[in-house]
Amino acid sequence: MNTLEDRLREALAERASISPIDPGAWDKTVTRGRRRLDPGRLHLSITVPAAAAAAIVAIAVTATALTGGHGTNSGTPTAAGPTPASAATPQRPPAPPGRGNFLIQSAPPVTAIVRVRGIGGPKTWTFVWFGYQKSDRAEGIQLCEVTDGGAYYGGGSCGPVSLQAQQGFVAGIGSVRMGTAPRRATSVAATLPTGRTVKGVVVSGNRFPGNLWLVNYPIADTARIVLRDATGQEIAHTVITGEPPALPHPRSGGITVFRYRGTATVAYLIDGRVTFWEGSAGIAPSGPPSQIPLVIFNPLNREAGEPQINFGYAPADVARVALQLSDGREFSTGTIAGWPGSGVRLWGPIIMPPHVLVTGSTMILTYNAAGHLLDKEPLSKVYG
């Protein structure tokens, strides 16, 4: 046996030893094994969550900020109301997100995936569906969207419907806003501060718990969203406050926290708040370190196969930060000094394997220089 073969055996054994194993794999496999052969069971597995979804969304829609009068039920067309699609939109749409898409994997559809043409701009297609977070069903039904074509490369987002309904909208990709709507809603429009009205679309799909509205306008604008029925009567409205303008990129005072694939993530202290910049994009928590002592950022808009990069800041006595999954596995990184007198240390990256899903129930642990545990909180409490 030659040396290369020995080394290869050792290297393969070492590499194999760090593959994570899901303790719930057997149940998932049995469910999957039954799925294709038993149409009766397949039907059950889809209709049960959809029924639950309908109940949840019915409550959420009642509690929404959307208010208004009554109208006649027009029935639910698959895509009602004016479509913003331009003549330049290609006739052949991109394929809907498949099994390899990260969002499909994290919140597998329990409804049809409906595609909406041109909502994100000419030549774009937005795909929407409802599903449950695979790793945390307790988060409730999620509304997910992916936009492809034009300037988009299949990014998107998922969010719990109840929260979105309370806010009257879903933070979508780019400037696309969306939210749940009563079944009788057939059209939606956003009125901007200038008086300009932007029309959107109302869509529904197989097993959708309700209708869905989508409209695209500049996110800095505060807009009045109005839903109408087939007769043109207003049935609900809400006001969505515009988002503050993007942060100007500071020219000095930055601390490079880490580099990943050629892009530096740099932290700045601006007006008492820690702000991170990844290339030309800046992100900041909503409060200063004294109010939010531990902050984590992790980008959710990623393709399957792309690792998840986590970073943030921590109090001055924290020497190491770790993320602990529900199966006990920990991923950690050390901290580096922040700005003198700021009481802040910076940390990152914690690189999570592509198939690991970080959720609100993932624990974040902090340790001091002696290795003693300082704090342990679920991520849902410390999201930046």
Partner: protein, 164 residues
Amino acid sequence: MTTDLRPTGTVSGLFRERYPEMVRLADLLGADDPEDIAQEAFARLIRNEHTLRNPDAAIGYVRACVCNLTRSRHRHLRVVRLRTPAAYHEVSSEHLVMLREDHRELIAALDTLPPRRREAIVLRYWLDLSEREIAEAMGVSAGTVKAHVSRGMDALEQALRGKL
């Protein structure tokens, strides 16, 4: 006609004993979601168990499924890459940093091999399978396995020599 869909003791026992191995095999072959591949392979066994004449052939069947499914994922991801130029797909990079330096080089070189050569080498040197077993898993002849292993090892040697 109704099919009995309950997995038999044979499958559950096999799963208990060999599931981690199949996850690791998919991982070593470069699957972006090794658990998904391994689960699908066992799910296919559950669906097709009644067609297996020899229960001892079950693990070979699952192994072949893992190889085929991983290859299919690679093909799919190549298409995704063409469609999403902005996205990164260096699946195993985060695992590489956890390895010993010399092992890291070797695994990185293995990652660059064509899928069939990589499969043959992993099955040969990690699972210690015979040429016949590798041929069954890959769906090729024993002679083809020999060629893949030999060319793969040559390529690894050359890659490592280039690092010196």
